[in-house]
């Protein structure tokens, strides 16, 4: 069955001024859609024709992996953010943040540094490893922590297309704005 572009849960202009409607128009309407179109073409007649995205991420290589993971990563990214964001709820997840990073502020600092420091295109993840510990993971291009058996909780797209229209070369400014709209309630629920 062909993959389809998932609907956004908010209006394309509702993340402004951090992420503009224009960026969304391309990022969601062209890049995300493009990965879906490519994937649907590439899997025809292959072992992945009826596979789930997760199976593709775990087992595929080359173009099928790249496009499949990009489809999953973008859908997950849209679900990580919402207009105005939401505050970090008290509970197991916030305790885990304190346990594994010292404090929420230290986590933010480390996550931001990982975003600024990822060279080239890619994704920065907060994930839960097999032992339940939280980790910040930098992945190039389409990389996804599921492939290492880890559970993704939050991701920031640091491909230049995610911010170039709004921030140009100033990736740290984009990351700062991204962190203002993270839906921490959703992230905590995934934990």
């Amino acid at each position: 069955m062909a993959f389809e572009l998932p609907a956004l849960k908010w209006a394309a202009n509702s993340l402004e001024p951090g992420i503009s409607a224009k960026t969304l128009e391309f990022h969601y309407g062209k890049h995300h859609q493009g990965y879906i179109n490519n994937l649907n073409k590439l899997i025809l007649g292959t072992a992945f024709e009826n596979a789930t995205l997760e199976e593709i991420i775990m087992k595929a290589e080359g173009g099928i992996f790249n496009n499949g993971a990009q489809v999953w990563n973008h859908s997950f990214y849209w679900d990580c953010i919402k207009p105005g964001g939401s505050v970090l709820p008290e509970g197991d997840f916030s305790k885990a943040i304190n346990r594994d990073f010292g404090s929420f502020d230290v986590f933010v600092e480390k996550f931001s540094a990982a975003c600024a420091g990822l060279f080239g295109s890619g994704w920065v993840w907060l994930a839960k490893n097999q032992n339940g510990k939280l980790e910040i993971i930098q992945e190039s291009n389409a990389g996804n922590p599921l492939r290492q058996g880890k559970t993704p909780l939050l991701t920031c797209d640091v491909w230049e297309h995610a911010y170039y229209l709004d921030k140009q070369n100033r990736r740290p400014d984009y990351v700062l704005d991204f962190l203002k709209i993270v839906d921490w309630q959703t992230v905590a629920n995934r934990y």
Binding site: H31, F119, S121, N141, H161, L165, Q168
Partner: protein
């Protein structure tokens, strides 16, 4: 530039105005690309080698040993060389097709100039993520087309197509996003309108002499 000691490198002048390559490459992109991205790589390279024995090495020596050096040197050294080459092989009013010895070599190794172009365009369009497409001269003097990730280049010991690059096209999104957004193929196709084959032919001669 390749043979100069790193502590003697200077940030290269751009030989044309930011707006000179319009409409194919817009002035805002040129300004950011040159004065922010390239300048950033250059500054970071100098900082990475400052007060180390590496500052007395050349880019060529560094690239040939890049797998043993810190990743900051690979990224920023590549970033500096690649962009310097890129600015040079473009011009507002150069020769738009090869002739002479380089044309002969292209016909020998690719069949025709058009066949070369489509092979090069393919390399540039299909590079996933950030990177570069290259035309290079191999040790046996034949030409080859390849692409590399991020700021790697064919001079690096990690390269799968080890050779002397004479033409490079930047396909990082920052190279085209303001004007072309997701349409990288349009940017790649339009690149031929600003490629300067006088310079590329000269690079070819220099490459042959250095082999």
């Amino acid at each position: 530039m390749l043979n100069k000691k790193l502590n003697e490198l200077i940030f290269p002048q751009l030989n044309y105005e930011y707006s000179a390559l319009e409409p194919y490459i817009d002035a805002q992109t040129m300004e950011l690309h040159y004065s922010k991205h390239h300048q950033g790589y250059f500054t970071n390279l100098l900082n990475a080698v400052k007060d180390t024995e590496l500052e007395n090495k050349s880019l060529l020596e560094i690239f040939e040993n890049i797998s043993n050096l810190p990743v900051a040197i690979r990224n920023n050294g590549g970033g500096h060389f690649n962009h310097s080459l890129f600015w040079n092989i473009m011009s507002p009013d150069g020769k738009r097709a090869p002739s002479g010895e380089l044309l002969k070599a292209i016909e020998k190794d690719f069949g025709s100039f058009d066949q070369f172009k489509s092979k090069f365009e393919d390399a540039a369009k299909t590079r996933f993520g950030s990177g570069w497409a290259w035309l290079s001269v191999k040790k046996d003097k034949s030409l080859c087309v390849c692409s590399s990730a991020n700021q790697d280049n064919p001079l690096m010991d990690v390269s799968e197509c080890k050779a002397m690059p004479i033409l490079g096209l930047d396909v990082w999104e920052h190279a085209y996003y303001l004007k072309y957004q997701n349409r990288r193929p349009d940017y790649v196709n339009n690149f031929w309108n600003v490629a300067d084959w006088d310079v590329i032919e000269n690079n070819y001669k220099l490459a042959l002499n250095s082999i």
